[in-house]
Amino acid sequence: MINPYSNRKYIIGGIFIAFALIFVFRLFYLQIIDSSYKFSADNNSQRRITKYPARGVIYDRNGKILVFNEAAFDLMVIPQQTKLFDTVDLCHILEIEKNEFTKKFKDAKLYSTYRPSVIVSQISSKTYAILQEKLFKFPGFFVQGRTLRKYPQPIASHILGYVGEVDPKIVAENAYYKQGDYIGISGIERTYEKFLRGQKGVSIFMVDVHNKIMGSFAEGKFDTAAVIGTDIKTTIDANLQLYGEKLMSHKKGSIVAIDPSTGEILMVVSSPSYDPGLLVGRIRSTNYVNLLKDTLKPLFNRAIMASYPPGSTFKLVMALIGQQEGVLNANTRYPCSKGYAPLGGHPKCHPHASPLDLSNAIGHSCNSYFSYVFKSVIENKKYHNTYVAFEAWRNLALSFCIGKKTGSDFSYELRGNIPSIKYYDKIFGKRKWKASTVISLGIGQAEMGITPLQSANVVAIIANRGWYYIPHIVKSIGSNTNDTTLARFKIKNYTLITDTNIFLNVIRGMSDAVESGTAAALKIEGISFCAKTGTAENPHGKDHSVFVAFAPTNNPRIAISVLVENAGYGATWAGPIASLIMEKYLTGKIKRADLEKHIMETNLIGD
């Protein structure tokens, strides 16, 4: 059989031979001519030791340390490099059970026979000293230096957050992290992880068969130095934070205090809290599970993640919006007959003189008055209809960061809520509702929700007569005071209220509340301040006690929001706590020792 293409077998065969020759030449070059691949230590093996840098130290606003590091040592193993060894001896040195060790060793082999695994983490320096001398007996084992978080005082756990082993999902996505690395999981540790973590380094050593380090590989050509984490200075006042946590002991709730002139958060208390030291090192996982199981939810940061009805605090915003919209002025008077008469006495109100002007209405926190204000805002003739007016009202409220994230540097900040037209259309039918249907929005109830942080920010806005800096917890990163990460905290933000005088009327009302109104019992000697009590209706139980204030009235230095869950009237619990904190912050001492003792010792949780 004649095949016209039969000669092509030579071409194909030729190609096969050509490639074989190319490969042989290449191998000749690699294996015989080029000497760069034949380093002297041929029969040694490499060991890569990761150099973990210490995380950055976190300071309070006065340079007091909130969290620093202590040395710890992990015993590592590379199963493939181990030889037969005396398990009992090793367990004896490490002071652990043989079963536990065997199990860990098996896990390590399952994970990988040639990658290092942690066998015993966080060995004490005493054990480390003994182990170091005997390590030659255990080839394949070596010690890796680490650092652990340490807290001088058990405070500010929610602000600082905690550090833990990195999640496999993050390892898969981010090339920097390797299994077993630590990463910031919440709080500042998480938000500022990039700065705090520093940069890992690696040393590559040559190790002989007896586990002895013979020197660095290729004269350290491939080694990289570890870069220590950047220190962070927070805006927190450690003393105030400690004081706040003491006042809130045995109570559920939160305190947020802001320096209105800078937007710096002075303290964030979420109670009940936990000792941040519980979530460090070997004890972390058991403690974490216990904290997670606790019905009082100590891991939950109420200050930024819990949304409460703003209650009568919102009346302040209502007063500002009313004036802005031109339907309210300082002399506007509305009647009150133990409630809002047009709707048969609902919402209800407590007994007081009637009718009241704006400042007295704030001072006495009149529900009827602000229902009238809300109605006039929503039925404002200057708008085409109710819904346009509602949208205008909503936008004004949103400009106070109510129902909108403040943009602070907390992870997991909650948005809160101001219901939208769409929401009510769904509930009542399209455009089948009006001002009186949703009247309780005027007094900060119904579906409205605000976090304690947002509430403190509203007070800061009023204290500043109309502007705010985004509340934040970090003052500076490292020695760089102009870090771009923090640039957004240096920009002044304004609300949609256009006239400063509008604020003055409200401030007068808040001042009245302290001088002669609902907060009259909370005066601080030598300091005039402005406040507003509140009671947030709680559909699940006893009402929450709410209190917002700023001090001093002129050139305010602190704006504060206190909420005590299920504690009733604002003036009873939240008020005294706020008052004591302001006194402490502004004067440095407490003159009302009895009040302080009473608050600290009262248990409102009930166990």
Partner: protein
């Protein structure tokens, strides 16, 4: 009885021996690669060499079984076999177990099977069947279309499994097709593609277009020696460049010089082609088409590289071409592999004495990078022996294929050689830094049941066909 004796006599024992030697050498190297003092028994089935022994035993049984079939069986049942394998490829996309981002494996308990491995011999059978069919003509467009379908159907399905390496293997059939009469331009074109790709990757695209523009008239002059026509061509091009440059400047478009040249080339190419056709100027059209397609190709390479290839694929190519160098990152595998092979020297470090391949500095050391162990422990002598064994096997396959009287058997034989050749070149090339890192196994050497069995089936079907060469004419 008579028939069996015939088979025994007519079997090509040289290729069977080569097969057995390669499998045994492979096993020894797997043993060395994963050797660990704790597990010293070679029958320890918790270790890879223990398991590989089982795979090898099974492979021998498979090889024997193939001999029990009538040699016409494979030709008769080609299409059902091809269909069933395709079905498995589709099912693995649905029921397969996803590992390392690939959905290429069936998992039954601790047993895993990779259907794409077995698709190779089925595709080879299908091609042999189709190309050997009566009145088949390779120049027929319909035939080419059908060949494309047979090859790219499995190829596409394997791409869907995200197993780019295994799908590239199907490119190897170009050798088979070439042997059966496909125009030699295909090989030439493939070579040009590779050269242009390398140039496009390494040289700035503006420089390429300029060099080609200078080369084109020179080549034309050498072929045609009409200086006047060269002048006219250059004139047309100069006017076109001026035109586009003017447009770019006047309308203040911010196109780079490259695009000006690109557009001018296309315009002048059309004009020159029209003139050349009318005046019947020899070579002009050919050179213009070649010029334009080369420029378009280099442009396409840039586009495909940045917009079609994934990051890790770009990295591997960049690393191979020395554009970037990151010995601890993307280049880690190849760098470690070269260190291992290079440290072997002339005679190697000796059996079980390799350190670089021992502590897994070389990843995948028992599968894709098994050649490193040969290089490190057996040195230059070892690598040359292995390459020689493979080359002898490939040449022997050509020889055997050519002696077939059955066209089906001949084509199948070339298919076997093509597939083995592609695997060997890419796999060894990757370990010595001559090919990008494409995860395909070294035939008969690499650890793994699926690949060993599939290569065994692939090869032994041909040995069976060959043993029957005097009887069959089908």
């Amino acid at each position: 009885m008579k028939r069996k004796i015939n088979i025994f006599k007519s079997t090509d024992w040289l290729i069977v021996c080569l097969y057995i030697i390669l499998v045994i050498l492979g096993w020894i190297n797997i043993y060395a690669a994963v050797y660990n003092e704790q597990y010293s028994s070679i029958f320890d089935f918790s270790q890879r060499y223990g398991k590989q022994l089982v795979w090898i035993g099974a492979a021998f049984i498979i090889a024997l079984t193939i001999f029990l079939f009538d040699s016409n069986f494979f030709s008769f049942f080609t299409w059902p076999i091809y269909g069933v394998m395709l079905f498995f490829l589709i099912s693995v996309l649905i029921f397969g177990k996803e590992t390392n981002g690939q959905r290429a494996w069936f998992e039954l308990g601790s047993f895993r099977l990779q259907p794409s491995e077995f698709m190779k011999f089925a595709t080879n059978l299908a091609l042999a069947k189709f190309l050997s069919s009566y009145n088949f003509k390779i120049k027929n467009i319909r035939s080419l279309f059908f060949i494309g379908l047979i090859i790219f159907l499995p190829c596409g399905l394997i791409l869907l499994q995200n197993d780019t390496g295994s799908s590239l293997v199907y490119l190897a059939f170009v050798f088979l097709l070439y042997r059966e009469g496909l125009t030699p331009y295909v090989l030439f074109f493939a070579l040009m593609t590779i050269i242009l790709f390398l140039i496009a990757m390494l040289v700035d695209k503006l420089l390429i277009i300029q060099i080609l523009l200078i080369l084109a008239p020179i080549v034309f002059f050498l072929l045609n020696t009409k200086i006047k026509i060269v002048g006219i061509g250059i004139g047309i091009f100069t006017v076109a460049v001026a035109l586009f440059y003017g447009i770019n400047a006047v309308f203040a478009y911010k196109y780079s010089t490259y695009y000006v040249f690109f557009a001018a080339l296309f315009l002048s190419a059309i004009i020159i082609l029209i003139i050349a056709n009318k005046k019947r100027i020899a070579f002009a059209s050919m050179i213009m088409i070649f010029l334009v397609s080369s420029v378009t190709f280099t442009f396409a390479v840039n586009y495909i590289f940045t917009d079609v290839l994934e990051k890790h694929q770009q990295d591997r190519i960049n690393e191979l071409l020395g554009i970037t160098s990151d010995p601890l990152g993307t280049g880690y595998n190849v760098n470690q592999s070269k260190i291992a092979i290079g440290s072997g020297g002339f005679a190697g470090k000796g059996f079980l004495q390799g350190t670089q391949t021992k502590f897994n500095f070389v990843p995948e050391q028992s599968t894709d990078f098994i050649f490193c162990t040969v290089g490190e422990e057996r040195g230059f002598i070892g690598t040359v022996v292995v390459i020689s064994l493979f080359t002898i096997m490939l040449l022997r396959l050509i020889f055997l294929a050519e002696r077939q009287r059955s066209v089906f058997s001949r084509i199948y034989g070339y298919g076997v050689a093509s597939i083995l050749f592609f695997h060997i070149v890419v796999n060894i090339g990757m370990t010595i830094g001559l090919a990008p890192v494409i995860g395909i196994p070294l035939p008969f050497f690499s650890y793994g049941g699926s690949s060993l069995w599939s290569f065994t089936i692939l090869l032994f079907i041909f040995i069976r066909l060959d043993s029957n060469r005097f009887e069959s004419l089908a």
